[in-house]
């Protein structure tokens, strides 16, 4: 009956609700269109592939390819490495929090922990940023990065001397603190959805806590993968906090103790002045485009994985 009558009234309701909905749906399309169309000029002069795989970033008043050259690989590399470090650190943290809350902590304290997790998830990122810049970075440099380099310097990732507190590793550590709350939420929701009969079956086998948790986690492994992907998406798209702690140097290499750029910090740092040079702004839009594509792919896979997991 609800959908049966198509009176004028219903039509008015339909359209007055549909138009705002269409506006929202258009935002993403508009984002894709703008990023693409403003990237095209740089692709025309440098080529798509060489824009993304070149390591040279050379602004100049002379347009590319002879004068300036805008290769985005170091920024893409910085984005990927810092986000991977973040996820690697955030995964054990978020799994521990879920196990701690679900299996160890008395029920009545759960609410507090989930409040803290929510608090962290919504915290303005610039607050993480200034804390990272003035506290975390110097601490890591003195007590983590320098020892890592001194004792494990033979491993390529620690081979460079940590000369500044702002490095890829600092960004990764800070990002891990910013993304783990999201990963906790994703994992926790699925963990709670495991049917109670499964859990009871686990206990009745006489499993230890470790074996029991391991069994449960293996049941929700797609949710964990999804949390990893969503966390990675968050980490790669963060701007303000990363721009403050990543060091902003156009380096590429395997060593994570050196400063680098990420795509978003490159845009944050150089966008306003990019009007100075021909094609530089287009190059930054090309960076935005790849960031958008990475984000969309990672999130879509993450959400599909989550949806498949039904008990």
């Amino acid at each position: 009956m609800k959908y049966g009558r198509k009176s004028l009234h219903d039509k008015i309701v339909f359209y007055s609700l549909a138009i705002p909905a269409i506006i929202i749906a258009l935002i993403l399309l508009l984002l894709l269109l703008t990023q693409t169309s403003l990237s095209i000029p740089i692709f025309n002069v440098q080529g798509v592939t060489s824009t993304y795989i070149s390591t040279t970033w050379r602004p100049s008043y002379e347009p590319p390819p002879t004068g300036a050259w805008y290769g985005l690989l170091p920024a893409i590399w910085g984005t990927l490495t810092s986000a991977i470090i973040a996820v690697l650190l955030a995964l054990p943290l978020s799994l521990s929090v879920v196990i701690f809350v679900e299996e160890i902590l008395p029920r009545r304290f759960r609410e507090y922990i989930s409040a803290i997790i929510d608090l962290m998830a919504g915290m303005p990122t610039v607050l993480f940023g200034i804390w990272g810049l003035s506290f975390l970075g110097p601490i890591l440099q003195a007590y983590v990065m320098t020892p890592l380099h001194e004792y494990l310097g033979f491993i390529p990732v620690f081979s460079c001397k940590p000369l500044a507190p702002a490095t890829v590793l600092t960004a990764g550590v800070l990002l891990s603190l910013m993304i783990f709350p999201f990963m906790v939420v994703v994992i926790q929701e699925t963990y709670r959805a495991i049917p109670i009969t499964y859990k009871e079956a686990g206990w009745s086998l006489g499993l230890t806590m470790y074996e029991y948790v391991k069994l449960n986690m293996s049941m929700i492994s797609p949710a964990i993968v999804s949390a990893i992907l969503l966390g990675f998406g968050r980490a790669s798209s963060e701007t303000a906090a990363v721009a403050l702690v990543v060091g902003n140097a156009y380096n590429i290499g395997f060593c994570i103790l050196s400063p680098a750029y990420t795509i978003s910090s490159l845009i944050a740092n150089q966008f306003t002045e990019s009007g100075d040079f021909p094609y530089m702004q287009n190059a930054l839009f090309a960076g935005g485009l790849i960031l958008l594509i990475i984000g969309l792919i990672v999130n879509t896979i993450g959400i599909i994985l989550l949806r498949r997991l039904r008990f």
Binding site: L163, A249, N251, P259, Q270, E273, D276
Partner: protein, 383 residues
């Protein structure tokens, strides 16, 4: 719905509404208000242009922003109906917005590029450029245990940044510093990672002062540093970034604007000038450089400044510090009536009284250049 209600929805909505009203009143109360009583107001405020509110909008170089901001604030205390809003968007953006006429003036480290200058000159509103601030690039270093001041010349600095000089006790550095005990440590050369006028001035100096060692292709606002390929180069974001890295890195050297070296508390090297003397960067030697460069300035404020700007880097003169440049404010020749009066007053003020409000690390321009700038007052007209 039973149970304990912490806060009723009605109360919450009411609370938010009250909060909004309070905020509204707050915003209304403060709207258009200038800064409160911060610092001492030394003069009684004057009004000009019949007391109408005038906003002068500027945009451009980040380097002169702290100084210009200090001037704008002092000026508004003196002339209470004029407000100057300057956005540090970067020299290039400032130049573009000036050409597009969306600002009233622009700030720029290099003067208008030849192309922009020709376009602006062809326009009925015209263009004048005023060198208002002296910029100096100093070579900061961090050599633990070193007693005495390091001396360097363009050639040695170029070889360091080319990666050809590897150790601090290299004979070519020792030759300039026979009295210093230089360590056998690798030199870490720190440079800017972002595009910057400072890099432009520095590389131009290297090109002019290195006896052909530094190639012309490497004179730009951002370059690929040869020393990076040896693994002894490091990039820092902004003057701040370079100064931070040098401060934290033993045996490093870097180039930063004079004001940042002072803020960072780092020592800097004496640099050999065009007359062959090793000169410290001090307000005096920078002023001397500006004076020595004065004859190189074009006849008229309406002319192209590019050549003069290039000449000023590595200027003549016995006591001139060698790595210097001017930063410019760029104005139109013709303004609407009220604005013309405000602009004239502003130019007059910064070249007279404004010189008493110099931010630490910035260098006041010498008398002779101030007089040169004051010619603008007779050029700017109402239309």
């Amino acid at each position: 719905m039973g149970g304990v209600r912490i806060v009723s929805t009605r109360l919450l909505v009411g609370g938010i509404l009250v909060l909004l009203v309070v905020m509204g009143v707050f915003v209304w109360y403060l709207t258009g208000r200038e800064s409160g009583k911060v610092g001492e107001v030394t003069q009684t405020p004057t009004i000009i242009a019949g007391g109408r509110q005038i906003v002068l909008l500027g945009s451009g170089a980040t380097f002169i922003y702290p100084q210009l901001d200090a001037w704008a604030k002092e000026f508004s205390k003196r002339y209470s109906n004029v407000r100057i809003e300057y956005n540090p968007t970067g020299s290039g953006t400032g130049q573009r917005q000036f050409i597009e006429k969306v600002v009233d003036f622009a700030g720029s480290d290099p003067p208008l590029s030849k192309k922009n200058w020709e376009q602006a000159r062809g326009d009925p509103r015209g263009v004048i450029q005023l060198p208002v601030v002296i910029g100096a690039v100093v070579m900061v270093y961090n050599i633990p245990g070193l007693e005495g001041r390091l001396k360097l010349n363009g050639e040695v600095i170029a070889l360091i940044y080319l990666g050809e000089i590897e150790y601090w006790d290299d004979p070519r550095i020792k030759a300039l510093n026979p009295e210093l005990k230089l360590p056998h440590e690798r030199i870490i050369a720190v440079h800017r990672s972002d595009s910057s006028g400072t890099t432009h001035v520095f590389t131009l100096f290297l090109y002019k002062a290195s006896k052909g060692k530094w190639p012309k292709e490497l004179v730009e606002k951002a370059i690929e540093w040869p020393v990076d390929k040896t693994g002894r180069g490091l990039g820092g974001k902004g003057n701040q970034g370079v100064a931070d890295i040098v401060r934290r890195t033993a045996y490093s050297i870097g180039y930063v604007e004079y004001s940042y070296a002072i803020l960072a508390g780092l020592p800097w090297a004496l640099v050999e000038n065009a007359a062959g003397r090793f000169v410290d960067a001090t307000p005096e030697t920078l002023a001397k450089a500006a004076e020595a460069a004065y004859p190189l300035l074009p006849q008229s404020l309406e002319d192209d400044f590019n050549e003069a700007w290039e000449d000023m880097v590595y200027p003549p003169g016995e006591d001139s510090y060698p790595i210097t440049s001017f930063s410019f404010l760029i104005f139109y020749k013709v303004y609407p009536r009220d604005k013309a009066e405000a602009i004239r007053k502003f130019i007059e003020w910064i070249n007279t009284e404004g010189q008493n409000y110099i931010v630490q690390g910035y260098i006041p321009i010498p008398e002779i250049v101030r007089e040169y700038n004051l010619r603008a007052i007779n050029i700017i007209s109402e239309g």
